[in-house]
Symmetry: C2
Subunit: 303 residues, 2 copies
């Protein structure tokens, strides 16, 4: 995989997704080779045209000579399914280009959300020497908060129709976005949304040393505005390095990774404990209200 | 609170949401008084009319003499915000009726999703002697999977417009729903959706001892179809008791509660460990790739 074998990469990613002891030894081997890639997150409401944006960005980055990997997070909601299928179609556009790799990750059933597998898949892509790793998530539920735990730069994609709901989500968006992009900018109300966002950004506290969130306009289907967008994200990446913030972010990502590892282990050992006779007795006493959940937890943890 | 004081209840719920040591001692006191309420979950895509449905169900249950509490989960997505405001308006309809209690819970920032606080708030409402606790969640991200961890009966609300997307979400919906409801059933395509759902339900394996998911039709704004819907949910509750499945469900809810308690404690102790000098050194070595995350986790956990 380190030598550029894409079949090996695909196999390793599948093993990481499997979450067993092999996952652990793979990550231990991979980890020393990580740390070079830029990780860009793209989020936004369903219908903002994120997939098309990502496709255009791939072409732009390829023209610059960068190797690009895409991780598309499928929130696997029964109300939003279907991402995986779309991905196969997307991959075909870049078929035969070894400098592009696209992978969908399902999140269903993972306790604690998407972050753990995704983070370790990003380790693998980083070790496989991709220059830019694009992590694309649908902005539903809390997945768009998860992206803060692994992306260096977060792009929030909106469409003119999002305008009405901007009022209620201002605080949340400012917290997430490093770059705003108004896609489908040929539509009416696009300029209004751009103005609102620009105003909102201007209200935030800032001086020469803080990052001023840019507001970009794109028409991804027509390949309009992609180059300026990519340049803004690259500026943000440079800002992170020159300000020392990249190191800070990496530190907080690593804390999250530790937490995820420990939580996963906890889950495994709790499962084991509940299968023993004494674990089962604790559960019965709990069910009969002879013990509170906190007492039971203390007993099971052996404290 | 046990004597019916609603101000005390509100205060206790706020304390449970605060997630500190007091939360723990409150839950220990409350827990022996729980286990009587029926917990109904309502989920569905945004725009399915869940709030109106819940309001009508409250009136129906009140007419039967049941005390009803509603927990509305606000997924706090920056792309979907605004639930709390709506709730204040809803509460006014039932103002002065001590047999109704409505509370919104925000989920933002809770590692591991909404389940922990919600579950313990449900303990409080159960101890406060509400007969039915309705937990309403927007079906975005994974929140609709979380509801399986705390509701005895899950109602999935859909609208005729959902029809097109049914194909991709079949498996997921069948896994969640105990009762389907097609709301806004005066709209065109409503009957088609009812037919599709009925067919889908019929395809599932079933015999006399399994629950056959009913498909109800409602026009909540006109109060049409609410009584049959409530009756179907009550039938499901009876089925859970007669089949012994209520006890099974409660057991799995308790396992989740244990996991949540232990995860919360883990998070707290990891935070503490990383603040010590040795914790900080581990983090630095990790950042310099001199140690893998799994090694670091083992060191921090003292193993």
């Amino acid at each position: 995989m380190l030598a550029g074998d894409r079949v090996a990469l695909a196999r390793i990613i599948s093993k990481i997704e499997r979450r067993n002891l092999e996952t652990q030894s793979l990550v231990e081997l991979l980890y020393p080779h990580t740390g070079k890639a830029q990780i860009w997150g793209i989020t936004g409401p369903p219908g903002a045209g994120k997939s098309t944006l990502v496709d255009r960005m791939i072409f732009n980055l390829r023209a610059q000579g960068s190797a690009v990997a895409v991780v598309a997070i499928d929130p696997s909601s029964p109300f939003s399914g279907g991402a995986i299928l779309g991905d196969r179609i997307r991959m075909q556009q870049h078929a035969g280009d070894a400098g592009v790799y696209i992978r969908s990750l399902g999140t269903r059933g993972h306790h604690g959300g998407l972050s753990h597998s995704t983070k370790e898949v990003v380790f693998a892509l980083d070790a496989a020497k991709f220059d830019v790793i694009l992590v694309e998530t649908a902005g539903v539920g809390q997945t768009e908060l998860e992206i803060l735990k692994l992306a260096h730069s977060v792009v929030v994609a909106l469409v003119p129709e999002s305008g009405d709901s901007i009022q209620v989500m201002k605080a949340g968006l400012m917290e997430i976005a490093d770059v705003f992009v108004v896609n489908k900018s040929d539509r009416p109300e696009a300029d209004k949304l751009v103005r609102e966002l620009t105003q909102m950004v201007g209200l935030g506290a800032h001086d020469a040393s803080t990052w001023m969130i840019p507001v970009c306009k794109t028409e991804a289907v027509k390949d309009v505005g992609i180059d300026p967008l990519v340049k803004e994200i690259q500026k943000h990446q440079n800002y992170l390095i020159s300000s020392g913030k990249r190191k800070e972010k990496e530190k907080s990502f690593l804390k999250e990774e530790l937490l995820d590892i420990l939580t996963e282990e906890l889950l495994r050992s709790l499962d084991l404990a509940l299968k023993t006779q004494s674990g089962n007795e604790v559960l019965m006493q709990l069910q009969e209200k002879k013990m509170s959940p906190y007492e039971a937890a203390r007993l099971i943890a052996g404290k």
